[in-house]
Structures are given as C-alpha cells and as structure tokens.
C-alpha cells in the first residue's frame, strides 16, 4: 500500500501547442520519501517536474489540463498565488544555476523575498542550510565571494542550501547530478538521502543505477504516459509492464 502523499496528480494532460506531451497522468507521491521518475529522454519527465511548481507557466505554448494537488489544494486553480506554491518546493536543475551574487546572498535570496532583512535572523539561517547541504565548512570563510567561483559540485550543493532556505516541504530535482563529477554526485546523492526523512523528494533521472541507489518509489514514464508506479523494489526488480521491463533491461532508451 502506498501512503497518500502531499503531491498528487489527477488526470493531468499537458500540451505544447498541438503536441500532447503528458497523457492523463494520475499519481500520488508518498510524503517523506524519495520518488524517482525514470524514462527515456523526451518522455516528458522534465515537463512533469515543471508541472509541480508551475514553471510550465513560463512556456508560452504550454497548456495544462487536470489537477496538481499540493496540500489538498489544486495549484492550477485560478486565484492560487503561484509564488507561494513555489516556495513549498526547492528545485535542483541539471546544471547548478547560482544567482549572480555572493554565496551568502544566494542562500538568503528566498528569505529576503519574504521581507526578511534582519542579519541576526539571516546569519544563523544561512549557516544552518549551508550545513544541511554539507557546504558550510568549505565556504564559511568566504561567504561574500561571488557564488560562481565555487566548483560546480559545490555550486549544486549551494543550490540545494538555497532551495532549503525557503523551508519547502518538497524538493524537486531534474537530473541534479548530470553535470557533476562522480565524487560530487555521490556527495549530492548522500545529502538527498539524508534529507528524505523530513522532505518529500521527487527526482528525475535517466541513470538507472542512481534510481536503484536512491529511490523508495519509482515512476516510469514512456511517451508521455505513466506506465508504472510503485515501490522501487517492485518496479526496478520485477516490473509488471513489459515496457518497463524493456527499459530496465536496456532494450529501450
């Protein structure tokens, strides 16, 4: 039995112009666990992830039908304050996107948007989340340096800290280790694993081994359809659908 999560999709359809990229998706993502979305490239993984925090709004030709339910609220309801929805979720992208400002300001960016300017509040907060992302010891003496001087692996952990600093409930990752070297990848993976007790994590990946290392639950997307969803031990070991089996054995990629 899958526990009902805070993040649910109901009859979700997404179109880019006339092209339908997600087809009637129904999915309940269990909370405080790590769900991995796998599937061949072009299957709609990233689009699905962008539905969760409504980044799809930014794509002019994209159209969304159906419901995305976060905390019992359909985030596509008219009248929903989209910035508040996005604050519930941290995002890690394929390449770390540090903001053009200092390390400190990157982490403080979210809290400052909420009007928090008090240094005595921000300082411990920045430290807390840099520690949580495992970056504090490496940067504590150069918090005011531009963030792009960090190595790419450090940048991705900074993005993690920055996302955590808005105190989200959910962490979304779009192949967050794909630009990193193996060492940094392991580091980021380890931090994601340690965070899942307190956060609901949804990760897109095309690396099956990574899915095996991290996932509690696995969703397999193929050509815009959700083919299979369940505990990692079932989907990755003994998939029910032949298409899932074909993907896992490397017949389709």
């Amino acid at each position: 039995m899958v526990e009902r999560g805070r993040l649910s999709l109901r009859n979700l359809n997404v179109y880019y112009g006339r092209n339908q990229v997600l087809k009637n998706i129904n999915l309940d993502i269990p909370k405080n666990s790590l769900t991995v979305i796998i599937g061949p490239s072009g299957c709609g993984k990233t689009t699905l992830l962008k539905c969760f925090n409504r980044l799809l709004d930014e794509i002019e030709e994209a159209r969304v039908e159906g419901q995305v339910i976060v905390d019992d609220q359909n985030i596509y309801d008219p009248g929903v304050e989209v910035t508040l929805i996005r604050k519930k979720m941290g995002l890690l992208s394929q390449r770390p996107q540090v903001l053009p400002m200092s390390i400190y300001d990157n982490v403080a960016f979210g809290p400052r948007l909420l009007g928090q300017k008090d240094k005595s509040y921000l300082n411990p907060l920045v430290e807390k989340y840099l520690r949580l992302a495992g970056l504090w010891e490496e940067v504590k003496n150069r918090l005011n340096e531009p963030a792009n001087r960090l190595s790419i692996g450090q940048q991705q952990r900074l993005c993690l800290a920055r996302g955590l600093a808005v105190e989200p409930e959910i962490i979304l990752g779009d192949e967050p280790t794909s630009a990193l070297d193996p060492q940094s990848s392991r580091n980021v993976e380890a931090h994601l694993l340690s965070l899942k007790t307190n956060y609901t994590i949804v990760l897109v990946t095309h690396i099956l081994r990574q899915a095996k290392r991290l996932a509690d639950y696995v969703a397999f997307l193929y050509l815009g359809e959700l083919i299979e969803f369940g505990p990692a031990s079932e989907v990755l070991v003994s998939p029910r659908d032949p298409r899932t089996r074909a993907y896992i054995t490397g017949e389709i990629s």
Binding site: L55, E60, K87, S93, R95, Q97, L99, F109, L113
Partner: protein, 291 residues
C-alpha cells in the same frame, strides 16, 4: 605550408589597413591643428567662450558644452525608455508581438538621419516653442538643446534596445527558473537576477548609444539652433562640435587660423569619443572580472 603563410599575410595586412587609416586621420588632424595650438594656448582654445573668428578669438567652450548638453540630454531621455522597452520585449511580450516589433526597430535604426531632423523641425521644435517652453516661462524659437536631445534620443533608442534585448535574451532560462522556483515574482527575477547578470551588456548597449549620439551631426544640426553661445537651459540653442564642422569647414577658410581651429575641434571631438569609449571599455572589463 607556403599557402598558409600567404593567407596569414593577407589577413594581417588587411588588419593593418583600418589601423593605418586611423593613425593617418589622427596625424593629419594633429598636424593641421598644430598652428592654432602654437598660436594660442590649449586652455584658451578649450575654455574660452569667445568665438569671433574674424577678430581672431577662437574659444571652443560653447561648442564643447553644446556637444555635452545635447548628448547627455538625449541619453537621459533615451536610456530608461530603452531599458524598460527591452525588458518588456525580452521578458513580457508574447512571441507574435516580438516578431512584429523586432523588424520595426531595425527599420527605425536604418532611417537616414536627415529624416529624423525633418521630423524634429516639423513636430518637436514647434511643440517646444508653443507648448513646452512657455510652461517654464521660456520663450524662443524652439530650436534648442531639448529639441536636439529629443530627436537624438529617438535616434539612439533602436540601437540601445536591439542590443539590450539580445543581452537579456542571453540570460539562461534555467537561471530565471531557479529564481522563480525560490518564490520570486517575475519582476523580482528580472530586477535581481536577469538585469544583474546582464548588467555589463546593458551598459555596453548604453555606451554604444551614447557614442552614436556624440557623433550624430545632420539631425542635430537641423534642430539645435547653431548659436555659438554657452547654453544655460534646456531651451537654449546650442552649437555642438559636429555641427560646427559640418556647417563651416570649407568656407571662410581665408580667415587666418580658421582652418586650423576647425581641425582642432575635430580632434577634440575624436578625443572625447575616444576617451569615452575607453572609459566604458575599462568599466566593462572591471565588471567582467568581478563576476
């Protein structure tokens, strides 16, 4: 191997050509300006406001000020409008509108400047003399710094907008998404992230617009009044350096020193533009190094 060398030589000599030309222009200007410099002192030529060539008074100060006033007025009018327009075009405008507006801007950038000048005479000059200036208890012909500034501002708008839009478009979508994902509104993303990332490019765009404004001659000459006096208000007429050169070179060259002072004025204009673009280049480099 030999062919490679020849090719290299050809492109190297092609490079020499514009370089030599620049040096040649500078040298001839300096040589021609030397007589007047040796006759009067440099400070007198630059800072004196007396301009009576027949009597041998050659003070360029009114012209230098005229150039600065007109250019700065145009810049102050154009830069904010251009930046906001490019923000709209790059971030807010729907795709269809962009497709219509971009060629329109290119068209504006390509219009001959005499057309802008004509438009200034027909519209801006009367508007200033009839409506705008009287509001400030100033009564004149309307041929003024403000008229030149407005015409010039419209002329440099497309230049600044075109480059700024390109610069803003080059800010990665993923970066903007990252800021959006933190709960920033669209405007906050533009203000704190996109504009910050694009700042060196936006400054370069403004600098290019500004250097175009410095040198623009015809359109300015048509509406600025061409009175060699130190301007006092925006409604005063002025006489910028390019207009001085275009109006007078080749005439009255029988007046002693006249040919030489005009060459000196040209040299001055060249130096102003050169110093200006050098400064903006240095500033840009510093910005790039910092980020």
């Amino acid at each position: 191997m030999k062919k490679e060398k020849v090719r290299r030589l050809i492109s190297a000599s092609a490079m020499l050509f514009p370089l030599l030309l620049t040096v040649a222009i500078l040298t001839s200007l300096v040589l021609k300006a030397l007589p007047i410099i040796s006759l009067k002192s440099l400070p007198t030529l630059i800072f004196s406001s007396a301009w009576q060539p027949q009597k041998g008074h050659f003070g360029l100060w009114p012209f230098i000020l005229g150039t600065l006033w007109v250019t700065i007025t145009a810049f102050i009018l154009a830069a904010p409008v251009a930046i906001f327009t490019s923000i709209y075009l790059a971030e807010y405008a729907p795709g269809k509108l962009k497709k219509i507006l971009a060629p329109g801007l290119d068209l504006l950038a390509g219009l001959p400047s005499v057309i802008y000048g004509l438009w200034g005479i027909l519209l801006i000059v009367p508007f200033i003399s009839k409506y705008l200036a009287p509001l400030f208890s100033s009564y004149g012909s309307g041929y003024s710094i403000l008229a030149a500034g407005i015409v010039l501002a419209v002329m440099i708008l497309p230049t600044i907008i075109n480059i700024s839009v390109e610069v803003l478009n080059s800010v990665p979508t993923e970066l903007k998404e990252a800021a959006l994902a933190l709960g920033a509104t669209k405007f906050e993303v533009i203000y704190y992230v996109a504009m910050k990332k694009a700042r060196p490019g936006l400054i370069a765009a403004c600098a290019l617009g500004l250097s175009r404004a410095f040198g623009e001659t015809i359109a300015v000459m048509m509406v600025v009044g061409n009175v060699p006096e130190v301007p006092h208000t925006l409604f005063s007429p002025a006489y910028p350096l390019p207009a001085l050169l275009a109006n007078n070179y080749g005439e009255m060259l029988s007046i002693p020193g006249y040919d030489s002072i005009l060459n000196f004025a040209a040299l001055l204009l060249l130096l102003i533009v050169l110093i200006f673009s050098l400064m903006s280049r240095l500033y840009l480099n510093r910005l790039k190094r910092r980020s």
